[in-house]
Structures are given as structure tokens and as C-alpha cells.
Subunit: 180 residues, 2 copies
């Protein structure tokens, strides 16, 4: 994995991929599947929707940190599997044969098998809407990885795979943040 400039990290989330969010409660690593995410600033700041119903939430709140990992289409069954069992009774890294990797700034693990990982600190929790606001403090990507297509959950049990890419950089030049 090579480090990615923080000014580009928002581009890992803006397209709306399903992500895996890891935590460590001081005893065990855990992972949850989240498709309710949003960029809220380029710096980067992200919002995710989660709450008491996710076992990971207690660790996220207690430690004030997590990692957002970006899986790809070849990992779909792991992504769905992780989202349909609980860290309360499952060691998800073991069950889904994923490799925890030590990050630079947080104790939550990166996931080696993912395309990219963003180390995050909790900036705010907006309880009335179950929104957690996260600041990305480091990001890395596996540039050598062949499969780069991410997944987009529809919410009905189906997933859309990234298709072709279209370039409108010139048209958008006036609106792109520096460094993106």
C-alpha cells in the first residue's frame, strides 16, 4: 500500500462505494459493512450513519477512531457476510480471512485485502440522526491491485459494480479543489 495525499482521499468515498469500517475496542478488532456514507468536506471529512444497533459503534465512540476500508467487487461475499453477522460473537477478520495491518495514527486496523484504507478520527457524533462525523488523517491505496472496481449497494440486496469511467475534468476545472 502506498500513501495517498490527504487532499485526494475524499475521492475514495465521493462515488458512494460500500465500505468496511474497522474498530478496535482494546481487546478485539471488528469490522462493519456500511453503505450510508457521505463526503462533507475536502479536507477530508466524512459522515457515516451508524448507532447502537451496530456492535462496532461502542468501540467507535469509546476510542474516537476507525478505519474506512474500500473493498472491490471480488470481495462482495465477504462484504455481505460481514454485514450479516455480529462482532459480538464473531471474529470477523478470522472468519472472512482478512488481514489486519497496523496504521500510522489509529489502533483500528487497516484491511490489507482492500483497495484503499483511510485512517479516521471521530470529530463529532450527531445523536439525533445517528450521524458520525470523521476526519481522515491518513490514506493509502494498493496501486498494484488489478481489480479496482468498487461496489454500490442499492439497499434491496443487489449491488451495482463500477462500469466505465467518463472524463469531464476540463468542464469542471473551475470547481475542482486544489490537489484533487
Amino acid at each position: 500500500m502506498r500513501q495517498l495525499k490527504l487532499s485526494k482521499a475524499f475521492t475514495l468515498i465521493e462515488s458512494g462505494p460500500v465500505v468496511l469500517v474497522t474498530t478496535n475496542d482494546g481487546r478485539q478488532d471488528n469490522i462493519m459493512t456500511i453503505s450510508w456514507t457521505m463526503v462533507i468536506d475536502f479536507t477530508p471529512v466524512f459522515a457515516i450513519t451508524t448507532g447502537e444497533w451496530n456492535h462496532s459503534f461502542a468501540a467507535l465512540r469509546k476510542t474516537g477512531e476507525c478505519v474506512i476500508a474500500i473493498p472491490t467487487v471480488d470481495m462482495l461475499d465477504k462484504v455481505v457476510g460481514i454485514g450479516t453477522c455480529s462482532g459480538a460473537d464473531t471474529d470477523k477478520f478470522a472468519k472472512f480471512k482478512l488481514t489486519p495491518v497496523r496504521g500510522r495514527f489509529v489502533t483500528s486496523p487497516l484491511i490489507k485485502e482492500c483497495l484503499a484504507n483511510i485512517e479516521c478520527k471521530v470529530l463529532d457524533i450527531i445523536k439525533r440522526h445517528n450521524i458520525v462525523v470523521l476526519e481522515g488523517v491518513a490514506a493509502c491505496v494498493d496501486a498494484a491491485r488489478k481489480e479496482k472496481r468498487t461496489l454500490h449497494a442499492v439497499g434491496d440486496g443487489t449491488f451495482i459494480v463500477d462500469g466505465r469511467k467518463m472524463d469531464r475534468r476540463k468542464m469542471m476545472a473551475s470547481k475542482l479543489p486544489y490537489g484533487a
Copy 2:
């Protein structure tokens, strides 16, 4: 356009498509392009990130309503064009040859050319993060439309088009909300 059950409306946003958000300030219709969106509840409730820097924000705040319209890949140049000019000096419906259609519950117009439209009421504005929380009150889709592929902004001026769909309904059965 046919009405869509409100219990399914979150599935229009969960995959993370670029959307067009319309408002009406009492004098003029306006449209903004937004890719920072998130589902926050199935009922449905959505979050979008916007603020004073968007001309539409004043109308959104004043009227407490908007429409989220979902464009498709054939509309990419309109989507980018709408996002790179301002309603302060441009009639975007006229400039981009889009047709405003009257909704059922809000005065913000639906966009006839879009795949789907969700009429929304503002539930909350979280000023410190520029998050606007919206409740969907009606949704409709153009089921007869051939092009159904949506667009996902990467944030660097490129866009990902919906590719193939993968079905994991059986694996996810325990987690799907009723009606989705």
C-alpha cells in the same frame, strides 16, 4: 412517471448517484448538482451537504423543501453544466432544456427528464457541518425510460457509470427492511 412506494425510495439514493436538487424561491425554479448525499433512514430520510456557497441554499432554507432528481448517464453534460454555473444569473431549466413538472406535496419542481424524483421536506439543518436532513414525502420513477444507468462522481472531474448488477438478496434477507 409512476409513483414509487415510499418504503423503496431510499434505494434511489443508497448506491450514491450524483443527484440534481431543485428548489423554488417563490419567483424562480433552480437546480444544483450534488454528489455529497447519504441515506440516514429507511423511512426515508436523507442527508445532503450544502451551504451558503450554493445559490439554491437560501431557497431550500426559506421554503423548507426541495426535490431530489436522479439523472442518468445520457444527461452527464447537463449534470456537469448545472454544477458549474449559478442560479443567481442563470435560468437552469431553460439553459439545459429541462422540463419542470408539478409535484404532489412541494412547490419545488420535479425534472421530467430524470429517471426518478423524490419530493422532500427539510427536517433539520446541522449548520456546523453544512448537513441538511431531508424527509422524502413522495417518490416517482419513469419506468418506461430505457437508459437507467446512473452516474457516480469521483470528485476529480471523472464519473463512474453503473456497470453490472449482482444479486445477494438471499444472503441479505435477514437485513433487508420490510418493503425494500
